[in-house]
Structures are given as C-alpha cells and as structure tokens.
C-alpha cells in the first residue's frame, strides 16, 4: 500500500482559504489504513472545515480506490449535481489519488496528505518501506531483502566500509546493515554464491519519470 501522513492542518486551511463551498473525497483503501483519508478522518476534516474555517461542505464520500480513474470517475458521476456546486475538492488521498482526480474533474484540488512511500503494515500505525519501485527487482538474489531500499546507499554489490558490528552508519548504527542481513540469510541457505555476482551500474534512463506501463492492444 502507499503510506501517507497528514499535512499540517494549517497548510490545508491556507490552501482552502479562497474557497467557500467544498466537497471531500477520501480513500477507502491505503489512506483508510493509514488513517489519513478513511470515513472517520473525513468526518473530522468536515467538522474542522465547518466549525473552524466556516466552510460549507456540500458532499463527502470515500472512494474505494481513488487511484483508479475509472472508479473515481464513476463515483463522481453519482454526485455530479453536488460537484457542480463546489468551489474546490478537499482530497484525502495519496498523491496518486489527487492526480487521478485531476484527470477526471476540472476543479481546484486541496490535498490533505503527504505521500511517503510504498510500504508494508506490520501492525496498525507501523508502516515500513521495503520497495523503492526501481523497476529492476533483485530480491530473488538477495534473500528477499531489497538492497536498493534497505541499504540507504542503495548498494547493489555488497556492504560499504562503514558497517560496524552489522549496523549501518547512516542511522547512527541503530539499524542493521542490509547487506549483513542479506549475507546471513544467504549463508543460512547455502546461497552465498549470489554475493559473487557483479551487478552492473543501473540504467537510469529506464527510471526517468514519469514512467508508464501500457499494454499493447
């Protein structure tokens, strides 16, 4: 899922300052899990905007997947009359949701969240980054520990010279070195041959954003 955190409310208020009538769109998937755009957070935002900022909330809803333009377009069709009455939309999604919305509706959008990373939820309120979406996965050779992400230097060919007792210098030696962990797992599986593989420099031309995957028709 995509991990989001709430923007400071003052930032949202500032963006909403020029608009009086608002609609609110939340996310029933990732942002609901992160408690940044589920139904409870929509209620809280609506209350704040009404009571503190004296805005009029014309409609609000949680979209099951606002990152899917087909679904958000369908949901907006259901509130087309109300949509025509609002000055702007408060969007409680990730950045993908905001931009998907911008593709299907011509209204000023007020994002309430900061998008952090694609992450894994270990428990409620504990989200961890495991993947950098590099587009060239090496997990099959690194015992399912991503060196691009888990090594803050993104090294592909083994540890750096700053490791001390298996801990990483970037985090003040408070977090483990990814390559030491990779070695330990590969050793346990008698697969340290993978460590001898020379991984060439990445081809960044394939990572130039914006990227796209479009199936041939």
């Amino acid at each position: 899922m995509l991990i989001t955190t709430k923007k400071p409310w003052s930032e949202v208020q500032e963006m909403a300052a020029d608009y009086q009538t608002l609609g609110i769109v939340g996310c029933g998937d990732c942002c609901a899990a992160c408690q940044t755009g589920g139904s409870e957070q929509i209620k809280e935002a609506a209350a704040k905007l009404t009571e503190e900022s004296k805005k009029e909330i014309v409609f609000s809803f949680t979209c099951e997947a606002p990152c899917d333009q087909r679904i958000i377009r369908r949901d907006l069709r259901r509130v087309s009359k109300e949509l025509s009455q609002v000055d702007a939309l408060v969007v409680m999604t990730c950045g993908i949701g905001v931009q998907s919305l911008a593709h299907v509706v011509d209204k000023p959008l007020i994002p309430t969240n900061n998008t952090q990373f694609p992450g894994s939820a270990a428990r409620l309120g504990a989200f961890y980054e495991y993947c950098s979406t590099c587009g060239d996965c090496v997990l099959g050779e690194t015992a399912a520990i991503c060196p691009v992400t888990m090594c803050p230097k993104g090294l592909l060919n083994g540890p750096c010279e700053e490791v001390a007792e298996g801990m990483c210098d970037v985090f003040g030696y408070q977090k483990p070195c990814a390559w030491t962990d990779i070695y330990a797992r590969l050793k346990a599986r008698n697969s340290t041959d993978y460590l001898q593989k020379v991984r060439p420099a990445r081809d960044w031309s394939s990572r130039m954003s914006p990227r796209q995957v479009v199936w041939a028709r």
């Binding site: 230097k153 540890p159 490791v163 390559w179 020379v198």
Partner: protein, 247 residues
C-alpha cells in the same frame, strides 16, 4: 604501490580544508611533506577539490593517492574526476563508498555507482573506453585500492574483497584501528598489499610509532596516518619518528 623505508610505506591521510582560498590547502600539504612523500587526499566536508589538491601536491614533489567516493558524484562526474587524475599523473586512487555525514544530512546522496561499478568503469577506461563505450584518447593507468573494513562481518568482507580483486583492486587499505591484533587478524587473510590505518587523534605519538615494527613484521606493507585539520605538523613529526624507528 610506492614503497620507502625498506619496503614499508608511511603515508599521511588528509582531508582538504574548507576554504575559499588555496592557502590552507598549500600550507597543509607543505606541513605534511615533512612527514614523507605520499599523501592520501580526501575531499573534506565542504572542502576544496581533491583534484586541485592532487595537482598542487604533485607540483610540490608529493605523490598523491586520491580517495574517490561514491557518495557525492554520479558516474559522469566520477569518470571526469578519474580521467583528470590520470591526466594529472596520479598513479593510485582508493575507491570507497563514503560515509554518512550528519552535518550534511539534508544533501541528496548520489551513490550512482558502487565500488565494484567504479572499478568496472576503471577497467573500461584502462581498455581505452569512455562511459558510452567510445574510444578514449590517451592511456589510463591508475591503480585502484579498496577499503577493507575491520568492523565488518569477516566472511562477508572476504567475499567482498574477492569480488573487488576480480574487478582489479590492486591494494587494500584497512579502516583505522590502534589494535594490532585486530589489524593483523584481517591482514592475515587479505591477499593484496595491505596498508593499515590509524587516526592520529586516537592514540599518543609514542603508541603510534610503536605500531610500525610489529605491523611490518606481521606482513602489513605500510601504515597510513589519518591526520585531522590543524594536526599536519604533528602528523608529519609522527611519520618521521616512525620512519626513524625502523631505520
């Protein structure tokens, strides 16, 4: 690897000073020159370019060994630095990843290439090829050293070093330590000419001087004294004392 003193090499390692003039750099090099002819040069935090330092050092009659790090430069900049060093007549470099700096934490780290990939690029340069595989004018004969981490997982360090040797690593520089047994334990399996390192600030002069002979007898090929800013004079004196202790 340049040797002196009966085959044992004494070198100073020094970071370029942060300055908007060349004076501190020239003064530092002049002071270090009294300690010997080989000086390892790293880019200090906000320091002057090691390329300029290498050029100035060569002019003074010093033999600079420039440390090239992955942290701050992409492959184009690294290629340019290495080509410039070759053009300046620098014969040896040390390739390392580069550590994290809490003071400069907001800066975007680069790490476009890792050590293996820089060594690979140097092999290509040696074959007369540039980054895009095009012919490169002139010859490239810069010998790369690599760092062996005394505090790393030993078996993993061995595997890493093997890989670096396969990619052309010619000598090994150990991370700093004042513990002889720790240095000797690692040096015993490093199958490259090995230079130990010690930080001037981490021991008194006599202790450092006393390390030279046991290290030489233990198969280490040299001792690299890491000298901080403002310590150049003392560093040169300790190096001179070490040299005298073996003569």
């Amino acid at each position: 690897m340049t040797k002196n003193n009966g085959g044992f090499l004494f070198t100073a390692q020094w970071e370029t000073p942060g300055s908007l003039s060349l004076e501190p750099l020239l003064q530092g090099l002049e002071a270090l020159k009294k300690g010997g002819e080989v000086v390892h040069i790293l880019e200090g935090e906000g320091g002057l370019s090691p390329l300029v330092a290498a050029a100035k050092a060569r002019k003074m009659g010093l033999k600079p060994v420039v440390h090239v790090q992955c942290r701050d430069r992409n492959r184009r900049a690294l290629f340019s630095d290495l080509a410039t060093l070759a053009a300046l007549g620098v014969k040896e470099v040390v390739i390392s990843t580069g550590g994290h700096s809490p003071q400069l934490a907001p800066a975007k780290p680069v790490y476009d290439l890792d050590v293996i990939q820089i060594l690979q690029m140097m092999q290509d340069m040696g074959r007369g090829r540039d980054l895009a595989g095009r012919p490169l004018a002139g010859s490239f004969s810069v010998s790369p050293g690599v760092v062996v981490n005394l505090r790393g997982e030993p078996e993993l360090e061995k595997l890493s070093l093997r890989k670096k040797m396969d990619m052309g690593a010619a000598f090994a520089l150990l991370t700093p330590s004042t513990r002889l047994e720790e240095i000797e334990a690692v040096a015993s399996w490093v199958s490259l000419p090995t230079i130990a390192s010690v930080k001037l600030e981490e021991a008194n002069s006599q202790e450092i001087v006393a390390m030279a002979r046991p290290l030489m007898n233990g198969g280490v090929r040299g001792l690299n004294l890491i000298v901080g800013s403002g310590q150049e004079g003392r560093g040169a004196e300790v190096l001179a004392q070490m040299r005298r202790s073996l003569s």
